[in-house]
């Protein structure tokens, strides 16, 4: 019988259900909270948890990890530690690929100093390059709580349907109180196109039509997602640049988790100089962020 290759296993694999979750451990002051949050989430999803450590363990470090796992009440069979040497970002990503990780959990500070932003922290670099979904925890707790209030960004992209389905899956697992489906409408040139040849009424009518068709799109997408009827969904249409508008929305509404598409492509320094989509959110994380990577796109 022919063995299924890793590439074949990964190809077109949906970002949910989450079967394997990994957490990168760097022994920062918040490492215990990050591991406990990841373990709680793994328990909710009935997923395996992999703790990834890059480099050699210092004396006592492995023991600390084992204690953490014990405290988080995760069964031993569902958890293992991988320690490997190598360049941090590359090694973490390669471990995720080899172990078919569905979600990589990382601790991240909300806002980085300007220089770090341009040089790039490990968490930000992984967020841009990862080929699996990534969860950035901005405020992890040693006594973690489930994500009760979730927001998902909806933009015009083929990835959006899968991202929305993942959001519905997580909302169901977490038994969320509400799921905000936020349609980001970006209309560059709207004002200039209408500036000299439209009345106030026409202007408002055109905006109302855009809102109406956006809501219809959301409804059509939700109808196709199994489990969406069991979640309390609140749909919103907001105007602005994708990424930036949902970041502002999240700052105001303060959800526990914001879910967005993975970036279309990674262009390195160009993305930082001319930020778009995900870069606006990474610049100043409004809350915990989950970047859904839809394989096959």
């Amino acid at each position: 019988m022919r063995t299924v290759t890793l590439a074949e296993q990964l190809k077109d694999r949906l970002p949910y259900p989450l079967e394997t979750i990994a957490v990168a451990v760097a022994f920062s002051p918040r490492y215990k909270s990050v591991i406990k949050e990841a373990a709680r989430f793994a328990r909710s999803c009935k997923a395996k948890l992999i703790l990834i450590h890059i480099g050699d363990f210092e004396p006592g470090q492995e023991r600390k990890l084992l204690t953490c796992i014990e405290q988080s009440k995760l069964h031993k069979d569902y958890c293992r530690i991988i320690s490997q040497k190598g360049p941090t970002v590359k090694t973490i990503l390669s471990i995720c690929k080899e172990n078919i990780v569905d979600l990589l959990v990382l601790g991240a500070i909300k806002r980085e100093p300007m220089l770090t932003h341009y040089v790039g922290s490990v968490a930000r670099k992984i967020s841009r390059k990862a080929k699996c979904s990534v969860l950035l925890l901005t405020d992890p707790h040693e006594r973690p709580r489930s994500f009760r209030k979730i927001a998902v960004s909806v933009i015009a992209s083929p990835k959006t349907a899968t991202t929305m389905a993942t959001a519905v899956y997580i909302a169901n697992i977490e038994d969320a109180d509400e799921l905000f489906v936020v349609n980001e409408e970006y209309l560059p040139l709207f004002e200039s196109a209408l500036a000299d040849s439209s009345t106030d009424k026409e202007h408002d009518l055109m905006k109302k039509e855009i809102v109406k068709s956006a809501r219809q799109r959301i409804d059509i997408l939700l109808d196709q997602i199994p489990g969406s009827s069991s979640v309390r969904i609140k749909s919103r249409v907001i105007f602005g640049k994708p990424g930036h508008s949902v970041q502002v929305f999240a700052k105001n509404k303060k959800p526990d988790l914001l879910i967005v598409n993975s970036p279309k492509q990674y262009l390195g320094i160009l993305d930082l100089l001319f930020p778009h989509d995900l870069e606006y959110i990474l610049e100043d994380l409004p809350c915990n962020l989950m970047i859904v990577h839809s394989r096959g796109f």
Binding site: P188, L189, S192, A193, L194, A195, G240
Partner: protein, 419 residues
């Protein structure tokens, strides 16, 4: 000090008042035919200017616009200065607003297809324009200028796409957010940026001898100013906007900042030996790219410039140029043919190579062949420095108007074939 006298003031204010009211009347009439305001404004200028009013009622024309009918009269010279200043300020503000429409992140996001569409829809028209002038300099009435520079200029004019016109068309046809729509918008934005950079180089080449600025100096200055404004400049503007929009009077504070920066940028590039319009355009890009700029503020800036300053410039075109005397049928016909073929072909080929299917690529090609405001500004500036004469300018204006009228129906025919 030269000052506007009592009579000059009356003449100047009557002219401004008539320009604004009549341009709005004609803009509204043409809106009924689904045509942009700019067409109505140009027609208002043609009717008010030497072409119609000056021909059928010369006394009335002389009474209302003595500074145009008799520019040699010294008593009206200050009015000419005032009018010239108003027109220059209008062009600078128009370029600032045009810059605000360019969203570089959107261009980057659209990636390969937008880049290839841009490349081909610029290279082919520029090449065709250049060869056409080179082979037929007498048709383009190149007498004292450099044939190469005129050829290059005609090519740049043919390569530009009218962003607001095509944006409105795409919105009306519900194509704006489709792959075709985003490709068109992103490509038109990039062409705007590149077109103005190239045009600034052309202007510098013309003025090189006069101001002894080398081409290398101009290019370096443009590059440094552009890169600094679009990276650090954008960040500074973006970070300061929340404070300005909440702590200062609104919209007074942000309007002062916007137009203040626009004029400072224009002055800076003018002092470098590059035309002031480039400074205004680049500051416009930096300002428009700021994520913290409120939609309402953007709308106010657009309304203010488009409805007050743009008409002054577009009506002035018809006021100063006689469209009948300078209508050269062979030139207009030839320019129309090369404009349509080169632009449609270039953009279609680019979009096809970029990955769009045949029908989508044709739709992009036809839509990209919408010329507009910027080509007219380019033409008027080129005419002001003596690069082209009035006949070539009239031909450019006709190409712009014809392309605006035809692009909608042509695009609709192709869109019907889309699956």
């Amino acid at each position: 000090m030269v000052k506007l006298g009592h009579d000059d003031m009356i003449v100047f204010l009557i002219a401004l008042g008539l320009i604004l009211i009549l341009s709005r009347v004609f803009a509204e009439i043409f809106k009924g035919f689904k045509l942009p305001a700019v067409v109505g404004e140009i027609v208002a200028g043609v009717l008010l200017g030497p072409t119609v009013l000056g021909f059928f009622a010369p006394e009335t024309f002389e009474f209302i616009f003595p500074f145009i009918a008799h520019p040699e009269f010294t008593s009206t010279v200050p009015v000419q200065y005032a009018m010239d200043a108003m027109i220059n300020i209008s062009v600078i503000m128009l370029l600032f607003v045009a810059g605000m429409e360019v969203q570089l992140p959107l261009v980057i996001e659209q990636g390969k297809v937008a880049l290839l569409t841009t490349l081909f829809s610029m290279v082919i028209p520029i090449g065709v324009g250049f060869v056409a002038v080179k082979m037929m300099p007498e048709l383009f009435l190149v007498t004292n200028g450099d044939v190469n520079i005129v050829g290059f200029f005609i090519g740049v004019v043919l390569s530009i796409t009218a962003l607001p016109v095509i944006a409105r068309l795409l919105m009306d046809m519900k194509l704006f957010k489709t792959r075709i729509g985003m490709t068109i918008i992103a490509s038109a934005m990039l062409i705007d940026l590149l077109g103005w950079l190239i045009f600034s180089v052309i202007l510098s080449m013309i003025e090189e001898g006069e101001k002894s600025m080398s081409l290398g100096y101009t290019l370096t200055a443009i590059l440094i100013f552009g890169v600094l404004m679009l990276t650090i400049g954008t960040k500074i503007i973006d970070k300061s906007l929340p404070w300005i929009q909440t702590k200062l009077s609104w919209p007074g504070g942000v309007l002062a900042l916007a137009f203040g920066l626009c004029f400072l940028g224009a002055a800076f590039t003018e002092s470098l030996g590059i035309h002031s319009i480039l400074g205004a355009f680049i500051v416009g890009i930096a300002f428009g790219d700021a994520t913290n700029l409120r939609d309402r503020t953007r709308e106010i800036i657009h309304q203010f410039v488009t409805n007050v300053f743009a008409p002054i410039f577009f009506v002035s075109i018809g006021l100063y140029v006689n469209f009948i005397d300078n209508f050269n049928l062979p030139l207009v016909s030839f320019l129309l043919v090369i404009a349509y073929t080169s632009k449609i072909l270039g953009a279609t080929v680019g979009a096809r190579i970029g990955g769009l299917n045949k029908t989508q690529a044709w739709a992009v090609g036809v839509a990209m062949n919408t010329h507009g405001v910027l080509e007219i500004i380019l033409g008027s500036l080129a005419m002001a420095v003596g690069l082209i004469n009035e006949e070539v300018f009239v031909a450019i204006v006709v190409v712009v108007i014809v392309s605006i009228i035809t692009s909608g129906p042509m695009l609709k025919r192709i869109v019907k074939k889309l699956p």
